[in-house]
Amino acid sequence: MIELDEARRAFLLRAALAAVAGAGIGTVPESLAQAQPTQHQHSAQPAVHPHPSSARGFGAFFNDDDAATVAALTERLMPGAPGKPGALDAGVLNYIDLALVGAYFDMQDFYRRGLNSLEAYCQKTHKESFVKLGDARQNEVIAALANGKATEFDWPRPQAFFNTLRTHTVEGMFADPIHGGNKDFAGWRLVDFPGAHPVFSQADMLSKNAFAGDQYIGLQSRAPRRRA
């Protein structure tokens, strides 16, 4: 599993980086660079289909800069690590990108303005865009959103922006893959949720151990289940 996770993370990170580079922002953010892939990009796992459009991990709403920022923000909220799928692995960016032209279309300006304010705040305090800050400084920025101390925000307020990002990250990690996140059940693998099982037996319910079932069940897809 670890190899696969690594490969998937690497792949997604590269996609996010491509977006940044494409937008001409410049150098590779530390946070992304240190997780640079070395191998296994074309793992044998059937669920991964590196395809030019899906490779971007977005395309319905965000522009390249905003996509890179949201990718980096959500990865800080739910960071991936070997054996622990994170927001990039789960395609949280894709989830939010789709939701903003679907169920959350009325939050487009909320994101636009929030991201603009974030950029202004990062420029003011660190003279850099969020994506170019290292993990530690990115964490500081997010903490300032969460505790409301970040300046340069009018609407949305920084806490509201943080809360929404957190909520949408949770949704993108754990909602059924049908909604564009939780890719290859990354979120469910992280917490060991087996998905939409229509039946649990009395033995399942009384067990003090991890659920014994051998499948992740999604609304359109299934996958073999092994404890990560």
Partner: protein
Amino acid sequence: MATEKTDVVIVGAGAAGGILAAELGRAGMKVIGLERGPRLATKDFAPQDELRFFQRQDLRPNVKRQPVTWRPNTKSRATPIPSQSYGNQAGGGTVHYGAVSWRFHEDDFKVRSHTIARYGASAIPEDSSVIDWPVSYTELEPYYDRIEYEIGVSGKAGNLQGRKIDGGNVFEAPRQREFPLPPLQVDQVGVTFDAATKKLGYHPFSTPRAILSQPYKGRPACSYCGFCQGFGCHIGAKSSTLVTNLPDADATNNFKLITNAMVYHINTDNSGRATGVSYYGPDGSADNTIEAEIVIVAPFVYDSVRLLLLSKTDKFPNGLANSSSHLGRHLMSHIGARVFAAFDDRHINVYMGPSAQKHTIDDFNGDNFDHSKLGFIRGSQISAGPAGLEGGPIASAMNMPPPPGVPNWGEGYRDFFAKYYTRYLAMTGQTEELPYPNQIIDLDPDIRDAWGLPAPRMTYDWRRPNELKRIEFVNEKMLEIGRAMGATHVWRAPSSPGTPGSHHQGGTRMGSNPKESVVNKFGQTWDIPNLFVIGSSTFPTSSGFNPTLTIQALAYMSADAIIKQYRKSPGPLIRA
């Protein structure tokens, strides 16, 4: 312009409306039900999608199109509440409820006299408006029995005709016979909760639920899928109004349901009679009217109050049925105290099985314990299940704040949640709240709904001394239980900032005095005898129990009174 005539028109085809439709139709009355939402079927609930049904509240009122607003006091401006605890389609809230189905205690119906007898009048907070119900448990018992058997409720008696039975709720009021179905299967939440509460000398039991533990009346038993509260049941094992009373109403051939019909006005004439209602059709058309001999308002608390206020006339200048000026007052909700327990030595797998309030202790509810030295009255049901009463990971991540010292994002949170999502349970103290006359519902002057109607506005703050002390007490009890479970981490959630909790009640309270109440015990308005209001808006006090079984029992009682008394001699059912 559509005008139809009928014997009875019912606003809202939910828990209360469904029963009245079936009963009055069975008695030969022509009934039209108006429901603002669609009529769905079991096959519509196949997608077990936590995002759609739990998180985005697909089956609940849409808080943007159908806002209900709240402000803590008259000096602040109201904003829409983030979720509403009732229905938005045929079957109402029972389509997606947790199906927890309680009979109230005997003293829940006489909080005032019972409290005075046991603790003296000074025990009742001066600023509260506690009264006795005009109906007793004994009077309602046959109707509780009726609903339990009609729809199928699973549980074990704890008090059979006065005989206490271990394993059931030994604090329950006496019941004449057993539940129609045995308790639902126990899971690791129930096992863990039972062991700890028994160790502490309490009396745990499987919560009675309107979910089939065995096949019943042609419907299958629960398959323990866990996508339960917030969801429609994908096999029809949850005894919702949609699969019980509404099909019964259809079978009478006297019932017609009009869906996507948003009632905006109750019509009255100069003599002071209700003549019918007007509604917006699915295309937004406003000129749709039903003329009826009897008008039954059952759209839940907010719209019951709102419709009566919106329908004011010269004859009823303060809103219909409001000669007492008590319309909209005494709003109550259940305030939730929450404690979490996480385990290193076992999995709990909280996502399996019906998700709401799985196992319960009733030891600290109502007046089941001595309050004389506690400084507050009334209590709380304490139960165990998943955070957010739904077992999926979104509900847990959104509703369980991590323990002190663990952040709610980043590596620390990821590792906490990855480890404990399958190894935690939550306890909920669902506390009774006393009524206060200045906790009100009126019309929001600023915010309107999608039809252009003013939103129902709550002015409400539960943080009163009696309630705060009770919440602290209940939190301490749950922390004690969590420690007795042997959990690695036990912690509590911060209290809500005054916001209303779940299960709103009051607003058109019943009473025995027309000067202090809006309706009599049959839900008949004191001022307009052919206008009835049925639902938890009529509750004078809230009890620590979920309201729906009592709403349903009252609906049966009202139906009986309409069929047996009102039909013979239309007029007040009770002379004040």
